[in-house]
């Protein structure tokens, strides 16, 4: 566990220093752990595990938009798990479930990870449809079609800067909609 968490902290430091590949690797690495924890939390609340992926995506978005609150001198895992716990509690509350006080599904020591898989989730996809056209196009191009920022800019006759702005605003708007819906 220690080794894995040290690796996360190292990847996050690189990511904050501008290494996009390290950031991608980090998000991929934490996702199965978050997924397993979300499933455990749902099971404890008597909820079907099929909502886990929505929670995982909400956690990832929050991690992304709040990563400036991470102290690069501190370990990454406690920060990550605090966000995970918060989002799990939110999700359970939204579903009208009683939330047990000590949700330790995101505890520091987690059992073996769930097998690698990628599931699609309904909520992000649904909220995506409510974004302004330009933000939706850019997100669609970068996320689904795996186009680079440069290619996306060329495709929509936008500047790369405008693509970056639309991408960031789209992600922020998506997060706000998920939180408030």
């Amino acid at each position: 566990m220690r080794g894995r968490e040290d690796e996360w902290t190292g990847l996050m430091r690189s990511a904050m220093a501008g290494d996009d590949a390290a950031y991608h690797r980090l998000l991929k690495a934490v996702t199965p752990v978050l997924r397993a924890a979300a499933r455990r939390g749902l099971a404890r609340a008597g909820q079907p595990p099929d909502q886990a992926e929505d929670i995982v995506q909400e956690i990832l978005l929050a991690v992304h938009l709040k990563r400036h609150t991470w102290d690069s001198e501190a370990a990454f895992a406690p920060w990550l798990f605090a966000i995970g716990r918060n989002k799990l509690i939110d999700a359970l509350r939204r579903r009208g479930k009683r939330v047990f006080v000590n949700i330790d599904d995101f505890a520091e020591t987690l059992p073996g990870e769930a097998p690698q898989e990628t599931a699609s989730a309904g909520e992000v996809a649904a909220q995506l449809g409510t974004l302004p056209q330009r933000q939706r196009d850019v997100l669609q191009s970068i996320a689904v079609e795996a186009a680079s920022i440069k290619d996306t800019a060329a495709k929509f006759s936008m500047s790369e800067g405008a693509v970056r702005v639309a991408l960031h605003r789209g992600l922020a708007a998506l997060t706000a909609k998920l939180r408030d819906h």
Partner: protein, 212 residues
């Protein structure tokens, strides 16, 4: 959108850099402060005998008390804007203004004061105090909440309460220069009541707007 696709879009946005919460909070308070000062200048103003008042240690003590609330409250609210932060180990900072007040009340009692306890406690400005501090707090509270929204507090109501303490501490610092009641008994009663009102508003609003 599946999770791999979402991750791809997040990684593509890695270049976006947000300012630190402390920077946003500072800016928001600096933008809000002129509004509070405007309320102060329009309705209150510095007391006429301020030059002689400054020779009274109990006048100066009011500023020590209000700033020893505002500054630690800023520090704690910044701490609480991190998702993994706990109040534990930080809450004692709130004892600073309480301790200062206790010392001041003790010294006033030992100095054989000119006025009886009830007169010092009730003062002449209790109603103004209860209205002015919350009124001047409101712009600052809005600023503090705006700044903390940039963070990720795990307990939004608690973080909102600290935003209330920040704004009440700063507003009370302004108010202290207007008010002619310098007895620490007056401060301990009416400033505390006004601060409690603002803190409750901060907690109530914070629990809604500080969720991330």
């Amino acid at each position: 959108m599946d999770t791999d696709q979402l991750i791809r879009s997040l990684a593509a946005d890695n270049a976006h850099r947000a300012p630190r919460v402390g920077a946003v909070l500072t800016m928001a308070l600096l933008v809000a402060a002129p509004l509070s000062i405007l309320i102060f200048a329009t309705f209150l103003g510095v007391r006429a005998d301020v030059m002689s008042a400054m020779r009274n240690p109990f006048f100066d003590m009011k500023f020590a008390v209000t700033l020893s609330l505002a500054i630690p409250a800023i520090i704690v609210s910044l701490h609480l804007s991190r998702p993994e932060a706990l109040l534990r180990g930080w809450g004692w900072l709130l004892l600073l203004p309480v301790g200062l007040l206790a010392v001041a009340i003790g010294s006033e009692a030992m100095m054989a004061p000119a006025m009886p306890v009830t007169m010092r406690l009730m003062g002449k400005n209790s109603r103004t105090c209860l209205i002015a501090i919350p009124a001047m707090s409101l712009p600052l509270l809005a600023g503090a909440l705006f700044g903390l929204r940039h963070g990720a507090p795990s307990n939004p109501a608690l973080a909102g309460a600290f935003a209330g303490l920040v704004s009440a501490g700063l507003a009370a610092t302004l108010y202290a220069s207007h008010c002619t009641d310098d007895s620490p008994l007056f401060v301990a009663t009416w400033y505390t009541l006004a601060t409690a009102v603002v803190t409750a508003i901060g907690a109530a609003v914070g629990s809604r707007v500080l969720r991330y």
